[in-house]
Amino acid sequence: MTDAEELRSRTRDLLAAHPPATTDRLEFLRARFDAGLAWVHYPQGLGGLGAPRSLQGVVDAELEAAGAPDNDPRRIGIGLGMAAPTILKYGTEEQKRRFLRPLWTGEEVWCQLFSEPGAGSDLAALGTRAVREGGGDGGGAWVVNGQKVWTSSAHVARWAILIARTDPDVPKHRGITYFVCDMTDPGVEVRPLRQITGEAEFNEVFLTGVRIPDTRRLGEVGDGWRVAQTTLNNERVAIGGMALPREGGMIGPVAKAWRERPALRTHELHQRLLKLWVEAEVARFTGERLRQQLVAGQPGPEGAGMKLAFARLNQEISGLEVELLGEEGLLYDDWTMRRPELVDFTGRDAGYRYLRSKGNSIEGGTSEVLLNIVAERVLGLPAEPRTDKDVAWKDLAR
């Protein structure tokens, strides 16, 4: 029912009714959501029009040309990329109405409470417990106790998506339930977790007697692992799928330094630079091909590989950059402990890029686990032995 022309016309109506030049930013964003132009592939009434996802570009182009404000998507990436698709798929009507609008406008920031000190690659082994208040079966509330880690944006977040163990007597994948946790609850304590770059992009989150009403459960009790797959699949797409111009990634600053500072050049570095330049350009083609497949409605398994490729490339390229800089590579721009809202790869020096990119092969699934996933799900090779498959979570060795 909705084609490009219709979207263009609706966008113009929005702009006419709320001229960006004279409209408050938040007011404009809310109006855009209510007009179904936030994410056009979402249902009507929830910021969309049930249109094909590929038509979002039509709306974005019109709005950009008119100088309309955006919702600063990089700042609210976890909400947009992970919480929203999960709420849309598993939330009740009431939950969708309550959460999606302020999530999209950025009024409410979201974070993700999944990983734990004892549950990294083996996320399903998580031990944070959620127990029904009063021990009853329906309604009421849950009381949550445990510790989460690697939580970016926890210190600015209003809400969190949380997975916790509700049944320790069944095998690990089956006893997990998915919740929306209020980060302002008095039992939630957020502590910055300083990392090798000097800053604290992530946090530890301690949950002590946190009370979550049953109305903030997403999906069925015990079905949290399946619900979390929606979240995690979207995370990997978000991490691997950024569009880049030539030299738009980490290779950019190295190529610039090479061109501007001939005194730094050596033959050995030249060979390595050219190899990495080629690999970066090919990775860009692969990303572009993946995007074209998605637009054409033929998503391939290639997405699983993109994150692997970018992690290795970022690390090798930034390592080369530090070396190229020679004496300057011995320095570091800033060790101050800060809590940034965004990861900024280009606004910092080479040493920061070198250190921060070490996390690229760990965050969102380690490269080792992703290689297993490719081998098993794409190539169909035999799965790793699963000794914990039929063992109740409480009986697993810890």
């Binding site: 030249h270 692969t286 074209q292 490719v374 081998a375 090779l381 035999p382 790793e384």
Partner: protein
Amino acid sequence: MTDLLYSEEEDALRAAVRDLLTDHCAAAGVITRTESDAPHDRALWKSLTEGMGLAGLLVPEELGGQGASHREAAVVLEELGRAVAPVPYLTSAVVATEALLACGDDELLGQLASGRTIGALAVGLHTGPDADFQAVRVENGTLHGELTGIADAAVADVLLVPAADGGLYAVAADAVTLTPQLSLDLTRPLATVRLEGAPGRRLGDAGPAVRRALRAAAGLLASEQLGVADWALTETVRYLKERRQFNRPVGGFQALKHRLAQLWLETVNLRAAARAAADALATGEDTDVTVAVAQAYAAPVAVHAAEEALQLHGGIGMTWEHPVHLYLKRAKADSIAYGTAGAHREALAARVGLQAP
């Protein structure tokens, strides 16, 4: 940006070529043929060209071709690579054809497009688009000299010979002395071409024609290399699911799973690079850089895939009867053909402003 997908027509073309090769280009036959006096498969060539019109993909319809583009030729080369098919497709339907397109020789183009005439550019297979190439002398209106490393010359009816006067000449194959060279890749054999007063017809200037032909060759070779790598990966995965040692499928060992996943990743990247090169050749946009990127990336991936296939097959991979050696030899020869990865990186350095110290 470039279109990196396969169209429905391209998918259909691939299916048709694959069907033909499945029926008529089995590995055992290719191995037997390499030991015979006739390493090229003329019957297969006839089916591909007279039957399916594939020699004329790059030739306009009014000259008897199909009026298609490098995108379709790339799909054909993927399939030919997957079968290490011993046919002169790359050398005649791409390289010689591109040289003739540069010279505007309509009559010969029509003949090559039909497949009934096979052409070969008499430039060594190792020569990249930016390299110097050999030329023969012109004395009293005839051609004199010896050229080495000419791929598929053994089946060529006409040779396109660069001469020292700057011209490119068409020379009938029966006017030269052809000596086969014992080649690493027996499915794309080389020969020396000796000209002793051979008559030639001047087609045009050699420089631009040879460069254009070799650039197309380097770009589309990436698709052949993709076919080679794809076969190596697919066949190795299949075998490792079947092969059991230590009472379990060998493909279940994580050390091997990770190597195969890594190879898959390289193949996915190569597909994007090869499509980009084919599309850039078809549209003429950013062609030099895209071709150099594709060829700098493709050669090591195809070699890696073939080497992994051999190692992961274990002892059987080392035997003459198993086809993996055909792919290893093709991949290694391809890594030199039309310029090494290093030569293409050097060309890139100048084109994207990353000069050597």
